[in-house]
């Protein structure tokens, strides 16, 4: 695995793993980030995985660009031909598909609402990266058959937990914000909770699966979350990618 390295000013370095968005590239980035978690480098402050890059921020007082780059090259060599040490997780996201734009998404694609739900749920979406707002996952893998352009008139406020479609992307709003996505459902699960010890639920490089629930189940889960008795279900997933 030959990576490209670029300095980002004097406190950042960018590792480029590929030029196209693929699941394989993303898994390599996750493996590299996992390695950094397990083998911390003194002077590295934090890192941000994205579609094709991993950006590492560091303290130049502890590490020069040259010495950090050398360390990263060594890690990259070690990673070669290795399988992921830890399995990916699949976060199970219970979703009540009763969104205001569900009829539009169905009509736009010449399908019934049930078909849209069936197509959207039950499969594993890769969380390519997090960004845009706290806890927002950029998901890959939505079937083209339900792709729908953004709303012509964006809404001023979309409730947290709203599940939407924009073009061939799907995502979940972690906090109330304006937006133009077609809202097809809502999850009671909190993706972002600033008061919590782990404020962000999801992590890039892992997967997410929407599971269709009824309105009653939505209420039950919502109440369980308020009582602090709900734990988001996860499953392990073998990805079988070597770098």
């Amino acid at each position: 695995m030959k990576l490209d390295y670029h300095p980002l000013g004097d406190t950042g370095i960018q590792l480029v793993f590929g030029s196209e968005i693929t699941e394989e590239t993303n898994q390599k980035i996750r493996m590299f980030a996992d390695y950094l978690t397990d083998h911390p480098i003194d002077g590295v402050v934090e890192w941000v995985p994205a579609y094709t890059t991993l950006t590492i921020y560091y303290l130049p007082t502890k590490l020069s660009y040259g010495s950090l780059r050398k360390k990263l090259e060594e890690i990259s060599e070690k990673q070669q031909g290795r399988e992921a040490e830890s399995a990916s997780l699949v976060y199970i996201i219970p979703t009540y598909y009763g969104g205001e734009d569900l009829p539009f998404v169905a009509e736009h694609n010449g399908r019934t609402e049930e078909e849209v739900i069936e197509s959207h749920s039950g499969k594993d979406y890769l969380i390519y990266m997090m960004g845009f707002v706290p806890g927002f996952p950029y998901l890959g893998g939505m079937p083209e058959e339900i792709a729908t352009p953004r709303r012509e008139n964006p809404r001023a406020a979309i409730a947290p937990g709203s599940v939407g479609i924009a073009g061939s992307q799907t995502g979940i709003y972690p906090l109330q914000s304006p937006g133009g996505w077609q809202i097809i459902g809502r999850t009671p699960v909190k993706l972002y909770d600033p008061e919590s010890e782990s404020p962000i639920l999801l992590e890039s490089g892992h997967y997410l699966r929407f599971v269709s629930i009824t309105k009653e189940e939505y209420k039950e889960i919502e109440e369980a979350i308020e009582r602090g008795e709900y734990v988001v279900e996860t499953e392990e997933k073998k990805v079988g990618i070597t770098s």
């Binding site: 000013g9 995985p49 007082t61 707002v133 404020p199």
Partner: protein, 315 residues
Amino acid sequence: MPKDLFEVKKPGLLTTIQDDGRTGYQQYGIVAAGAMDSFSMKIANFLVGNSGDEGVLEVTVMGPKFDVLSDAVIAICGGNLSPTVNGKKVAMWKSFEVKEGDKLQFGQPVEGSRAYISVAGGFDVPVVMGSKSTYLKAGIGGFEGRALEKGDVLRRADTMEGKSGRALHYDEIPSYEKEMEIRVVMGPHEQAFTDNALETFLSSAYEVSPKSDRMGYRVTGPQLEHKTSADIISEAIPLGGIQVPANGEPIILMSDRQTTGGYTRIATVIASDIPSLAQAMPGCKIRFKKVSVEEAQEIYERHDRFTRTLEKVSG
């Protein structure tokens, strides 16, 4: 027990609590935030005896008016926004005592655009995800996740006395010019620009636009042309990254920038020059100067040695 310190009579244009920013959460999409001018923030803290990264008030252009509710040692550093106590001018870059009943107020901006108020012991606000910094868009941190409003009462942690009369040597006080040279490390998307654009970028004067805020500084000047596209696959964007969208006008990314972005970046401002840039008012002229990573890191080390010496002296 925390003590009431300031009652806000006028909030000013944008007054928020900031520290060194939120680290470790950018991978989850949480913006770093933090003081725009981290140098002034640190000095303000050292002068009252705090650790450098304690939360301070960041005051923007038109400053606030406070009633002082209890005696305390404070310091004001950064841009000169004409601070007064009971109508009398107070020295900046020097710790001093305010008394219950005093009125602390700011006037006209004279030089620079952001001032920092520290208090011995620090402001009593919760630490959210490891930081006291206010991130306005998500309503995180600082004083109830927002800018100060009239009627708010700020408290200070009653853990230390603080010493008044400590000052930064006048040789070390930065001056904020109307024209400044900002050093950059080129890349990472140099190859996305025409040769002409790269030359123009390094040889022209750019003017800070009024459409500049804590997220980014827009600068106007000769447009920078892309070879083909201004867009990239979204990736992490650093403090000081200079992104150039399709309209060819650079935006320098500052403290409240998003964690990731999808525009090409021609260069990155070196960490040591962010504080002076943070003080630039609209209309300021900027020239970008290319340095190598190695040079930038030497400058960083020098700055760091200086602030660490001050920390020792004050601690």
